[in-house]
Symmetry: C2
């Protein structure tokens, strides 16, 4: 459940969102995107939780990998529907992980 | 519910955790830490969600502010109990937010 990330530096994309009540097609699309992102060059893993607010943090080798995923055709379709239909609000932060430690 | 963060750059601390079944004193300590962190120099806000995995992202002006919070006496006590009692596992990543955007 914890993403198995390498020694820093690497990148994190922090996606914070509020979901709309309408859920039409969200679950299926989410499953497709989870499968698709694993094949993406430079993808390192992700962690996700939702209560009122949803937080998904995905980890990436570098910025180029993040930009390639953002531009991926099927992901662009998901982004469009997300903006129009599934999320009433969201914020995306791109951050460079400089150090990390565990229990 | 979204942290009202300024224009980047600023810092994010991504705290991912698995809670133990035992919850003794966790809620009260968590409330105290939420109150205390607001008074901390350089603190910008936080976002939090928990399902199986818990994710709390706190935002900070700079690394010095993060280190000062880590060293804060009452917070050190909370960290100690967290490690011993409340969390079966956790990972902490310190990252520099380089850019962000919203819906």
């Amino acid at each position: 459940m914890f993403a198995q990330t390498p020694k820093p530096p690497y990148y994190a994309v922090i996606f914070t969102s509020l979901k709309a009540k309408e859920d039409q097609g969200y679950g299926a699309m989410s499953d497709r995107m989870v499968a698709l992102v694993q094949q993406q060059e430079g993808f390192l893993g992700f962690e996700s939780a939702r209560e009122a607010l949803g937080i998904t943090v995905s980890y990436w080798r570098d910025e180029a990998s993040i930009l390639a995923w953002k531009a991926q055709m099927k992901h662009q379709e998901a982004q469009k529907l997300g903006k129009e239909r599934w999320y009433t609000d969201y914020k995306i932060r791109i951050a460079k992980v400089e150090r990390d430690y565990a229990k």
